[in-house]
Symmetry: C2
Subunit: 263 residues, 2 copies
DNA sequence: GGATGTGAACATTTTCACAGCT
DNA sequence: AGCTGTGAAAATGTTCACATCC
C-alpha cells in the first residue's frame, strides 16, 4: 500500500514478505490478549483463529521470522510476543506527531491503542490559531508554524496527517522536509513523496465503496432481492462508438448504459 | 481485506479481481476531480499519475470492466465516472448506520466524503443513554435498544462499528441478525461473522506498526544512524531449546534474544 | 503518431500436504 | 500422537511489450 515506491524494491535483506508484515500486528494483538490471560502456549490453529486467519498462513508467516515454535506443542506466548515486537520495531519508542486536530485528529489523539505498543504522541499540530495551547487528550495543541522545530526537537520520524484534503500535500511536504520518513494519511488524497518515504493511507470512503461493490453483487445474485432505488439511468455515449468486449461476457447487471453522472 | 471468508470463493460471476476493485475508488476520485475541472478526456498515463498507480496497472484494471477507452485518445472522463460508479454500486443510495458515537464515531458522522458518493448516514446509534437525542452532525443519536428496528426501517445493509473493542462483537452480532451484510469495523478486534457477511477493518495501530517495521529497516540499513533508544533486552528462553533456522540467515538486527516483553 | 487493450512473463501470496521433530 | 516448518502447487496480482485501432 505504501505509495513512495514498492518499499526499496531491491532490498534483498532477508525480506519478510509485505503480506506477512501486514499480519504481524494482528498476531501480536492476539498474543497480547493471551499473554494477559496468562496462557503459556498456543497452537497455530488456536492463534490463527484468534487472529482471523488460517493456520497454514500463520505458520508460513512465522517461518519467515524463524523457528519459534515447538513441534507437538505450539508456540510460547511470551516469547513470540517479544519476537514479533522486535521484528516490528516496537521494542523502541516511536514519537509520533498528529497534524490536523479536527474531529478526526482529536479522536486519534484520544485513541488508547496509540500510547500503548511502542508509540507516543509527541505533539499535536493544527493550523487554527484558536486551537493553539488548547489541550486535546491532555496534550497542548501547537501551531503549524512550529512544525519543523517540533519534528526536529522530538526526533519524530512518523507523522499522521488528519487535515482536510486540501492541506494534506502541503503538510506532507513540510513533514518530509523536516525529516519524517513514514506517513499515515487520513486525508482523502494521493500524497506524492520522494523515494524512501513510506505512505500508508486510511480512507473511509474507499472502504465503504469496496463494501458497496460486494453488497451490490449479493443483491444481484441472490434470491433475496433487497435492492435500493436506483439512480435515474443516464445518457450520452463516449467520445467514439461504444465498443463491446472481446469475449462474450456482460459488463454488469444493467448493461453498457452510456452515461453522465451527476458530479 | 474482508474477514468473513474470501468473498464467496467460488463465485465465478465474471469476476473483477479483488485488487482491481480496491483501486476503483481511487480512480473514481481522480476522475471526479477531473470532471469538476471539466476535463473531457484523460490518458491512462495522466489518470494513473493522479491516482498514484502505474498506467499498465490502470489499463489492466479497466480492461476487466470493458473497453471504455479510445485508442490514440484516452478515456472520456464523464463516461468512465459513470461506468465505475455503476460497477461499484454507487448509482444507488446506500443507507449506513454508525454505531458508537464517541470521538471517532462523531468524526465519521461529520466526515463529508460520507454523504457524497452514494452513501447516506441513516442513523447514529450509541449505548450511552445521555447521548440519546443529542444531535451529532445534525443527526440525533438513537439508543442501542432500537438498533434492530432502525436497521429494518431504513433498509440498512452497511454498518460502521466505532465502539470500544469490548462491545464490537456484540454490536456486530446484532447488526448481522438485523440484516446487515457489510461491516466496516474501526474497533481493534477481529469480528467473527457468518458466511455471506463482509467485514473490512480500519485499524490505526496496525498501520502504525507496519510503518514502524519499515522505519526500523531504514534506520538499520542506511548510514543515517537515526536510532531511538532501545528497550532493555529481555531474558527467558522459549519452552524448549532455542532452534536455529535451517538456512544461514540471521533473524534480526539483534539476534535471537530470548525474551519476555512487558505487556 | 499516439494511446488503448491484452497475451505472456514474472512476481507475490495462498494453500496443500506431509516430512520431521517433540 | 500431535503440531510445526516447509517444499511444491495453485492462485492471484503486476509488469512488459506490442499488436491493434483511432
Amino acid at each position: 500500500m505504501a505509495t513512495g515506491r514498492t518499499h526499496r524494491p531491491a532490498t534483498r535483506s532477508r525480506g519478510i514478505p509485505e503480506a506477512t508484515v501486514a499480519r504481524l500486528p494482528l498476531y501480536l494483538r492476539a498474543l497480547t490478549a493471551l499473554s494477559e490471560r496468562s496462557v503459556p502456549t498456543v497452537s497455530s490453529e488456536e492463534l490463527a483463529a484468534a487472529a482471523g486467519v488460517n493456520s497454514a498462513k500463520l505458520r508460513k508467516d512465522f517461518s519467515y521470522l524463524g523457528s519459534y515454535g515447538t513441534r507437538g506443542v505450539g508456540y510460547d506466548v511470551e516469547y513470540l510476543v517479544y519476537q514479533i515486537s522486535r521484528e516490528l520495531g516496537l521494542t523502541q519508542d516511536w514519537p509520533v506527531v498528529i497534524v490536523g486536530i479536527g474531529n478526526l485528529g482529536a479522536a486519534l489523539a484520544n485513541y488508547g491503542g496509540f500510547a500503548s505498543r511502542g508509540f507516543r504522541v509527541a505533539a499535536l499540530i493544527d493550523a487554527d490559531p484558536s486551537m493553539t495551547g488548547r489541550p486535546v487528550a491532555g496534550i497542548p495543541v501547537q501551531h503549524t508554524d512550529d512544525l519543523e522545530s517540533i519534528i526536529e526537537e522530538n526526533g519524530v520520524s512518523i507523522g499522521v496527517i488528519a487535515t482536510p484534503a486540501g492541506a494534506a500535500q502541503q503538510v506532507c511536504d513540510r513533514l518530509v522536509a523536516a525529516g519524517v520518513t513514514s506517513i499515515l494519511n487520513f486525508a482523502p488524497t494521493v500524497l506524492s513523496v520522494p523515494d524512501g518515504v513510506d505512505v500508508r493511507k486510511v480512507d473511509l470512503s474507499i472502504e465503504l465503496q469496496i463494501l458497496a461493490f460486494h453488497e451490490q453483487r449479493k443483491a444481484g445474485e441472490e434470491p433475496t432481492g433487497e435492492s435500493a432505488a436506483d439512480t435515474a439511468p443516464p445518457a450520452a455515449p463516449p467520445a467514439a462508438t461504444v465498443r463491446r468486449r472481446t469475449d462474450g461476457t456482460e459488463p454488469g447487471p444493467d448493461g453498457d448504459v452510456p452515461a453522465v453522472m451527476p458530479a
